[in-house]
């Protein structure tokens, strides 16, 4: 089993993510340079947070044309596990691997804060260790995290149970106050129809050690590791 963390020019959570996978959950991990046109022998690929290509034009708009994204698309189409965190989520939307787009935060501010997110679906490779309704405290750090999609897409996400995380208060209620950026339906993370590609705005890798204020986020990485272990056993 091996994790891969993609490095785009401007990625800045690549080392944090690598650290959590290697040191906190203790799994093998490699960096994947953006010019590579293969994900090599990785079994799960993570697109980390940051400001890929300076986020010029639109967040993630240029990153999606980098050579590695062709390989990521091909990997995802074979059922490979792909997770995008923050800028990674934005790139997955731009690349068409996830529906919708991330707009400027409704209050026009860059928000750097701890938020609560509620687990809405546990039947995914990314949340299978979680309980439905469980509330995680994880940080967000973004200027463009306001999830938007058309009405039909939103209905599809809801009916197919593809909204994985919603911003909530500490009790798990979806109040308007708990929605930091104006996202539709308090959406903090979604997956594709096949449930092997997931994107989320909050940063679980920044909340994986108690020393940093919360270790709630590491359950996402443990879930992924469990899934990979199961897959390895089955093959």
């Amino acid at each position: 089993m091996k994790f891969g963390v993609v490095m785009f020019p401007g990625s800045n959570c690549d080392h944090d993510t690598y650290h959590v996978i290697s040191k906190v959950i203790g799994q093998p991990v490699d960096f994947i340079w953006h010019r590579q046109n293969t994900v090599a022998d990785c079994d799960a690929v993570i697109l980390p947070g940051g400001f890929s290509y300076g986020d010029y034009l639109r967040t993630g708009a240029i990153a999606r044309f980098s050579p590695v994204m062709g390989a990521v698309k091909e990997f995802a189409s074979r059922g490979g596990l792909v997770m995008g965190i923050c800028n990674g989520f934005q790139i997955l939307c731009e690349a068409g691997l996830l529906p919708g787009a991330l707009l400027r935060n409704q209050n026009l501010r860059f928000i750097c804060d701890h938020v609560n997110i509620r687990i809405e679906a546990t039947d995914t490779p990314f949340t299978n260790r979680c309980q439905r309704g469980q509330v995680l405290s994880v940080p967000i750090a973004h200027g463009d995290g306001n999830y938007f999609c058309d009405v039909e897409t939103l209905a599809e996400l809801q009916s197919e149970n593809r909204i994985i995380f919603r911003y909530s208060d500490a009790d798990g209620d979806f109040t308007t106050d708990a929605n930091p950026n104006g996202s539709l339906d308090n959406i903090a993370g979604i997956c594709n129809r096949e449930r092997n590609v997931m994107g989320m705005m909050p940063h679980p890798e920044r909340a994986s050690e108690q020393l940093l204020g919360s270790a709630d986020g590491r359950i996402i990485f443990y879930s992924l590791a469990d899934t990979l272990a199961e897959l390895a056993k089955a093959s």
């Binding site: 639109r58 044309f65 209050n107 026009l108 938007f148």
Partner: protein
């Protein structure tokens, strides 16, 4: 030849920046402003290797694939053959 590309948020997409600008200009005292929408404007200089029809097709493809995100934005291309 120059191509001008205007990229605007679809009418169904909220534009908090436009709203903030609207509020600001009203506060400053500009009158008669009903709404403000903010967008992007690109000027692309085209070399002489393409016919105007080919240039338009190429620029429209670029606008659709790169400059605009069709999920949230509309675009409009003007070709200015005088410049």
């Amino acid at each position: 030849m120059k191509a001008k590309i205007y990229v605007t948020l679809k009418p169904s997409v909220l534009d908090p920046q436009g709203k903030a600008i609207h509020h600001a200009v009203e506060t400053i005292g500009y009158r008669g402003i009903d709404d403000v929408r903010q967008g992007k404007y690109f000027v692309v200089t085209v070399d002489g290797s393409l016919s105007p029809e080919e240039a338009r097709a190429e620029i429209e493809r670029m606008a659709r694939d790169v400059l605009a995100n069709p999920i949230i934005e509309d675009f409009h291309v003007e070709l200015d053959s005088d410049s």
